[in-house]
Subunit: 328 residues, 3 copies
């Protein structure tokens, strides 16, 4: 997607008052938009205990999970988030419904809308699928992108931003490095856009050449091939999951080789700042992307990320419903 068309697509997620009414991508959103998501997410975290607080902002609303690509993890977090907001949640079995009876996607969406859906949470293997769906639904429905192809995974990016803001401090002071298969990662794309918009001091990607992004100059990131170089002075290191299933060809070295070169180990982290924080979108492959001692160590924020994911999804669901209400 070109930058101009990306920004056009992003317009789709804002209402006439320039407020979120879908949540499709971090691209094209302003710092105010992203900060509002983070602030709203914080409002669902008890300041004393750190526990996620229930708030019935979606009572009487119906959330439908449309997972064209299976992901128990992400679906579960959305289900928990929606229930904590008091919504009714339905997991639609896509494989059994539309496709088997030859219904078109558009007809399926219209039918689910007519069944009084208020929100579609969409996961799809094709890049741009969430945008397409958002372009088809009526003004009554809000669409949340739970990952589409190689394009975006914006709630994952925002939970990472919340984790950074809560544990590493102001973005202006931070050097953040993303390590691994940047080229095929929707998480990386969404993170880079969010980090830029939120004003991170420096964004780096560290990857073998075959996995480096093709448009890195456009993306505004510094590209490194070696960890020894890329990790220097880094405040936050984010390891990506090695998506074997997403690789089209043998672009990737073996797991062992990958670990030797790019695995986040205590040794390699010595190049970074002493209090460097470590993140990973999960599920982790121990001994591939990350050393167990690092994943389970004091600098790891991996489980915090999962936990904040509930609050961020609650934020996005409730903001989209609010914005969709203003639109009508």
């Amino acid at each position: 997607m070109h930058r101009s068309s990306a920004h056009e697509a992003s317009r789709l997620q804002l209402n006439a008052q320039d407020r979120l009414r879908h949540f499709l991508t971090t691209e094209g959103l302003s710092r105010d938009h992203l900060t509002e998501i983070l602030d709203t997410a914080e409002s669902f975290i008890d300041p004393v205990t750190g526990a996620i607080v229930n708030r019935p902002l979606l009572a009487g609303r119906t959330v439908m999970n449309l997972f064209f690509e299976p992901s128990t993890r992400t679906r579960t977090t959305f289900e928990v988030a929606a229930k904590r907001l008091g919504a009714d949640v339905l997991n639609i079995d896509i494989s059994k419904s539309s496709t088997s009876k030859g219904e078109t996607l558009r007809d399926m969406l219209w039918n689910l809308e007519a069944m009084t859906a208020d929100i579609f949470v969409v996961r799809h293997g094709d890049s741009g699928a969430a945008h397409f769906i958002a372009s088809q639904v009526t003004p009554k429905v809000a669409v949340i992108n739970a990952g589409d192809g190689r394009h975006a995974h914006p709630t994952q990016a925002m939970l990472d931003m919340l984790t950074i803001r809560r544990h590493a401090g102001a973005f202006e002071n931070l050097i953040v490095a993303i390590v691994g298969d940047i080229r095929h990662s929707r998480v990386a794309r969404s993170e880079i856009h969010a980090l830029q918009t939120l004003g991170a001091k420096e964004i780096r990607v560290i990857a073998p050449r075959t996995l480096q992004p093709r448009d890195f100059d456009q993306l505004g990131v510094k590209v490194f091939e070696r960890m020894e170089d890329g990790l220097v002075d880094v405040d936050v290191a984010i390891a990506l999951r090695v998506q074997n299933e997403r690789m089209e060809s043998a672009l990737l070295p073996s797991s062992d080789e990958f670990y030797a070169l790019y695995g986040l180990t205590r040794d390699k982290l010595k190049h970074a700042k002493p209090d460097v924080l470590v993140m990973h979108p999960g599920p982790i492959n121990r001994g591939v992307e990350i050393e167990s001692a690092v994943a389970d160590g004091p600098q790891s924020l991996i489980l915090k990320q999962v936990n904040y994911g509930i609050a961020v999804r609650m934020a996005v669901l409730s903001l989209a419903v609010r914005g969709q209400g203003e639109q009508r």
Copy 2:
């Protein structure tokens, strides 16, 4: 099923006060019964916005969806309806439970009852299955037929009646034509009974000879083979879904041929009243039973049907629970 036994079977769904306590078939129900269902359904539709209203009439009740034949669409509508009434809903995975362990159907039902089920929503491939199940359960449980074999699909029929009443007006003034595979359609059977009971002026079926009902004189419908004849002066045209999977042999012409002869097109609809309304139980096969311009056009009520389906299922669930309570 013969007419007399049909009426006997229908008794099963009424309590001692002659009120609904199961909902198995439109056959044998009085105009008052059907009108009460329609009026109750209307009570769940906001008169100003048209939105479906939540009402906790089933709070604390447990609805179990027993789908022996998969149908994501119908199951989803019942799940939404039950949740909007405040019930707890459980989708029982039939394939994994009873059959795999050699339990009899009766034992399975008794066990689910003992797990404090209040309502079974039943979908089954065999005609008469819902009646059988209703004959086996204790007085504590209400059974709703969500489609059984070729026999009945009464909630679909009633949502069609609600659609007609809200958009076409009094049944006494209406000529309604049902088009397609009448012989194998549980929807058509249930619709014909409901239309007769509600006093439709004339009920027509239009189908190739192989798909015409065998008992049409008993059914009290006029049978047509050609659309040019059958559509004349029609107020409401209902296309049925072409159920390839349900046809036992090659009774059906090819899709193209079917569309040429029986597809609801703008051209063919010129034979009907100018403001003829068009319905279809969905999911639609565009270019087989219906032209896209018709399905998406101003006279189409197809998505209204889906929407009213929620209200009708709320009505039937709440009425059956009331009637079952009186019985005890």
Copy 3:
């Protein structure tokens, strides 16, 4: 598992105040512990109507069903119980989540915890799995064993105890016989421990030699090979399900032969007390473990067991949450 290690394992399920905070096994629990479970279960049964009463003790809590071994029946009872307590319930599709992506069990548990789970209901094919899981979770989570390998099925045992207490009276006066495949039965193991702790007058097991427990002297039960001997003076006869799928080799005679020798028939029950009560954990194999006339007869408590199972699971869920709260 040896007795000493069993008691050690049991400590895991108690908090510092010696109160339940997981529920893993009946073994090692005191009579007070078991009686509290039974009394709490009774509190959820309406004394007049016998109906299960809702009580929102788990409102705002998230229960996750982790069924590594499928069991629609048991999962459904836990789902109903948790919903009647006002909890949000999520059925985690284990097969699609962890295993497919190579995540370790421990990582999966930590992730689900971070998604704000309060309770894991665990069913697993391996003996000791529930203990292992309880040993891995943080203090925030309570673990309920819904059956692990051949080891324990403690909620089944406790619902049997509740059935006996409500219908047969004080344990001190009762001779209870368990019939069938004792050796491979987690239900039998859990029942024997519970009956002993609650002070049953005499516990008998009746089985062919190949299916008798190996440690019966440790278990403190009387072993019989013939029904004519074992049923004499019995107050309660519990038939076990013949678990064909669990037998490793051809230890079992044919179904017909088993029925002839060990099936609970009217004839064989003449050896027991005249008002002997008959139980079975379900689902029953009619004509294998039990005669239909017995299963459906006035002395059968089989459906009562299922019904009380809801109350017992409500008790265990609410007690574990209370005990886990005290621990923190």
